[in-house]
């Protein structure tokens, strides 16, 4: 019965996926709360400042960005969902983080998978970083320009 096999694959696969997410998201969120409690966010911000300034993402976006880069899009998005629930990120910030992460995420796992079959992974990794940084900084510049225009036009 192929339908039964498909159903079984869908159910076990999606449950495993959810369990894997819980196994990363819950410790990650606990870590984030501890991080905030100890005021380590400032330290992280100063380390990441050269890149985040270039791509126009505010300090509140550091943790989503970093966890997306390390663990993958779901986890970056999980932290975006949490931060936006706390009202810390604007829609523009959220778009920029998404823009960066779609090009460049899960740097260890995904890269390793292709390294294992012989791809020139260093080259690809560098290209992905360059692409993500360029698109993001371009988009943040467009946003900035648009904000300046909307301020000047409202003054008139």
């Amino acid at each position: 019965m192929p339908y039964l096999d498909i159903a079984r694959e869908a159910i076990t696969g999606s449950s495993l996926n959810v369990l894997k997410m819980a196994a990363i998201v819950i410790p990650l969120m606990i870590f984030v709360e501890i991080f905030k409690e100890l005021n380590w966010l400032d330290r992280l911000t100063s380390i990441m400042a050269p890149i985040t300034r270039l791509i126009g993402i505010p300090p509140e976006g550091n943790l989503p960005l970093l966890s997306g880069l390390i663990f993958g899009i779901s986890y970056g998005s999980g932290l975006i969902i949490q931060s936006s629930r706390e009202g810390k990120l604007t829609l523009e910030d959220i778009f920029l983080i998404n823009l960066f992460l779609v090009m460049c995420h899960s740097l260890f796992e995904d890269t390793l998978l292709f390294a294992a079959i012989g791809a020139r992974w260093v080259l690809i990794l560098i290209l992905r970083l360059i692409i993500a940084i360029s698109f993001c900084s371009l988009m943040s510049r467009i946003y900035k320009k648009r904000r300046v225009y909307s301020v000047t036009s409202s003054n008139e």
Binding site: E33, S74, G78, V102, M103, I124
Partner: protein, 139 residues
Amino acid sequence: MVPFSTIKQGFMNGLKVTWELTKVVVPVYISVTILKYTPVLPWISKHMEPVMKLVGLPGEASLPLVLGYCVNIYAAIGAITPLNLNIKQITIIAAMLLLAHSLPMETAINKKTGVRVTGLVVLRLLVGFAIAVGLNIFI
């Protein structure tokens, strides 16, 4: 010392976010699993065969590409292995797949954060293709 309430808060946030992601992941995972057993993916990949030439890949390489785009990287790698591609070709297909993969799942998750996602998907596919063309010429 970190107070227990901090850890509890983190745990609760983790549960809430896991639940939010579950609502996206489960339906998409089920749909993609069903899609995998329909003739849709082979059909798309058959129509993509001519495009493969533009990036220096053999026509058969369209199947792992479509599997990677629609399902995930593991499915793509499973389909790359029997093709006997050389290092250059593997690098090209790897670049395309690293820029765009698991599109139904990742796009649904992007959408959950509240942004418009059509542009993001198109951008991933186009940039992946452009990089592949470039790699085919320069490496």
